[in-house]
């Protein structure tokens, strides 16, 4: 711990206001996601807790606002603040899990392609090339339209578009690592390939992935929001922030802006925080820029 506190990374972190703001926002969302249900009186998914008499109340600072509902309520009398907190849980969960799955699969395929080469390498990298020439959102949209809505299906679609970037990066670093003497030495010493990959190559190709993984969580939150907005993402029973915006869009023309503006604002702050911190990490971990 003390070595970390004295490290250059931590030193630069304390001097970078964008890194502090970014990680602060991320910490705020982590807290909201973990403690969300304890912060609000109403469970927005418990039908019994909803009262239609409370529907379409504006935020508390506007005329007709109700102090029980700081950010107002939607058409079913659901507290917008509570649904934003619950929605953020689903958005963050999807972003994190899809990132981890993409990272695992992409890294494994990248290591295989880089280490063994040959036909495996060609097949994996050609698939990656074809996929990269299409925008992720379109691939995800197409997959979702084929398999239908659901949190699990969103996770599959995001992983299907997300693995490519890890595979390409890891393959590149693996190719340059296996040329180095320590890997050659391990080979000469007769270590099995699996062990060389796990113990020697893997630890040395991980650093660039930290930045990619950080930024990707934000990208995934945005893609998931877009899919849910189009109605091919999460189901209505598990509304993420994107689905809340969609539901709010339907009443926007009656002037009820608060049901869609606050969830969108939450997405913006979350992704902005992730991108700020990701930018800081990229500058720190990329020795070429120093």
């Amino acid at each position: 711990m003390t070595t970390f506190l004295q490290s250059e990374l931590f030193h630069n972190y304390r001097r970078s206001s964008s890194a502090i703001i970014g990680s602060g926002l991320m910490a705020l969302f982590a807290f909201a996601v973990l403690a969300g249900p304890f912060l609000v009186a109403q469970d927005p998914y418990d039908i019994a807790a909803l009262n239609l008499m409370d529907s379409y109340k504006p935020p508390v600072w506007l005329e007709g606002g109700d102090p029980r509902f700081i950010l107002g309520t939607d058409g079913q009398g659901r507290d917008v603040w509570a649904s934003v907190l619950y929605g953020a849980r689903i958005s963050v969960f999807i972003g994190l899990v899809a990132m981890m799955a993409s990272c695992l699969i992409g890294t494994a395929l990248g290591l295989i392609a880089g280490f063994y080469g040959g036909i495996l390498d060609t097949v994996i990298m050609r698939i990656a090339d074809v996929q990269l020439s299409f925008p992720s959102i379109l691939i995800a949209l197409f997959l979702m339209s084929a398999v239908g809505t659901g949190v699990d299906k969103v996770l599959i679609a995001l992983t299907a578009v997300g693995w490519v970037v890890y595979a390409r990066t890891v393959r590149g670093s693996t190719l340059s690592e296996i040329e180095k003497e320590y890997v050659q030495a391990a080979k000469v010493a007769g270590l099995p390939n699996r062990k060389i990959i796990r113990k020697h190559v893997l630890p040395n190709v991980l650093t660039p992935l930290i930045v990619i993984a950080t930024i990707q969580v934000g990208t995934f939150v945005l893609i998931e929001a877009s899919l849910s907005f189009l109605g091919v993402g999460v189901p209505i029973t598990q509304p993420s922030l994107g689905l809340l915006i969609k539901n709010g869009f339907d009443v926007l023309f009656s002037g009820l802006w608060w049901t869609s503006v606050f969830p969108g604002f939450a997405i913006m702050m979350l992704v902005f925080g992730i991108n700020l911190f990701g930018d800081f990490l990229r500058d720190e971990l990329n020795p070429r820029l120093k």
């Binding site: 299409f134 379109l138 997959l143 189009l230 915006i245 926007l252 002037g255």
Partner: protein
């Protein structure tokens, strides 16, 4: 050069073939399309008849063969909903999408490149920091949410811009173009601004990074030492080299704009091919989805190809193999 182009053309055909296989496979997961065409109270005999008509009684391999051979022959199937050729439906709506994407692209370029050059040339100025913060917010925004905010403010609240539709159009070589009418321009403002934000932010960051990268090179120092003014060095020697990576990103961004146009068109009820895709997904109108995907795939491989060619023209150090 000729050999390279030939090789790329073969690659493009291969990519399109792979896409056709994937599209066909995924489409066979989406449930039985026969229920899209028969009435709810159809008898078993009628269902079997419709299945035969659609060719669904054949083996999957045979179905793929029929699918790919009719694609190659230019028969793209009929929409289940509109009972019209799917290709005609899409081509009718294509000018609307192309129009919006073009306006968004032009908007992004004329705002992003000057600001990016400024921010790259003066990395420590206050204004640059503000520009960069806004560009970071720009890539963190859900685009559709910005569209909604614009609709709420400019259409619902102030009523200065229309919230939906394309407005008046005028015929031009048989295409319906809304950029030729004042009303059309009035309608295109909000959707194209919405669509351009993400691309604007990314182009800005690329331009800035490019400018900062080139300013480290020796030829920049040499030009300065030779006595050229700071502006001459930046804009005559620097900018050209800084824009090389921007051109590569340009192609990808064009693809992204076409993809995100589906969402923007849905919000603004813009009658383009993106909205048609989303509507077809809701209605499980399989032929339209398939033709859209194949057409967009073709557009993307052509864009990528053109970008690679342009790349060698502006950077003679790169040779195509």
């Amino acid at each position: 050069m000729f050999g390279y182009i030939l090789k790329r053309l073969i690659q493009m055909v291969l990519v399109l073939w792979v896409v056709s296989v994937i599209v066909f496979l995924m489409m066979s997961f989406t449930g039985d399309p026969v229920f899209m065409v028969v009435p709810i109270d159809a008898s078993d005999a009628e269902i079997a008849q419709a299945r035969r008509l659609l060719g669904l009684d054949k083996s999957p391999l045979m179905q793929y063969w029929i699918f790919i051979s009719s694609l190659v022959q230019g028969d793209f199937g009929q929409s289940y909903v509109f009972r019209q050729p799917a290709m005609t439906l899409i081509l009718e709506r294509m000018p609307a999408t192309v129009e919006m994407v073009m306006v968004a692209m032009v908007l992004a370029i004329i705002i992003a490149i000057p600001l990016g050059v400024y921010a790259g040339a003066n990395p420590n100025s206050r204004l640059s920091r503000i520009i960069m913060s806004f560009s970071l917010i720009g890539i963190s925004l859900p685009g559709f949410w910005v569209g909604m905010l614009l609709i709420y403010l400019f259409a619902v609240h102030w009523g200065v811009f229309p919230s939906s539709g394309r407005g008046d159009t005028r015929e031009f070589f048989g295409l319906r173009i809304s950029l030729l009418t004042w009303d059309g321009w009035h309608h295109i403002v909000l959707p194209s601004v919405t669509l351009s934000l993400g691309t604007m932010a990314i182009l800005l960051r690329m331009t800035r990074a490019g400018m900062m990268e080139v300013s480290r090179h020796d030829y920049m120092k040499f030009a300065r030492a030779k006595g050229a003014t700071r502006n001459d060095v930046l804009y005559k020697h620097g900018l050209k080299n800084a824009l090389i990576p921007v051109v590569t990103i340009f192609g990808l961004q064009l693809g992204d704009l076409i993809a995100f146009a589906t969402i923007t068109e849905t919000i603004f009820s813009w009658p383009g091919m993106g909205k048609l895709l989303i509507d077809s997904i809701y209605r499980a109108d399989r032929p339209v989805i398939v033709v859209y995907l194949m057409l967009v795939a073709l557009i993307f491989v052509v864009i990528n190809f053109l970008v690679d060619i342009v790349y060698t023209l502006i950077d003679p150090r790169i040779t195509l193999k």
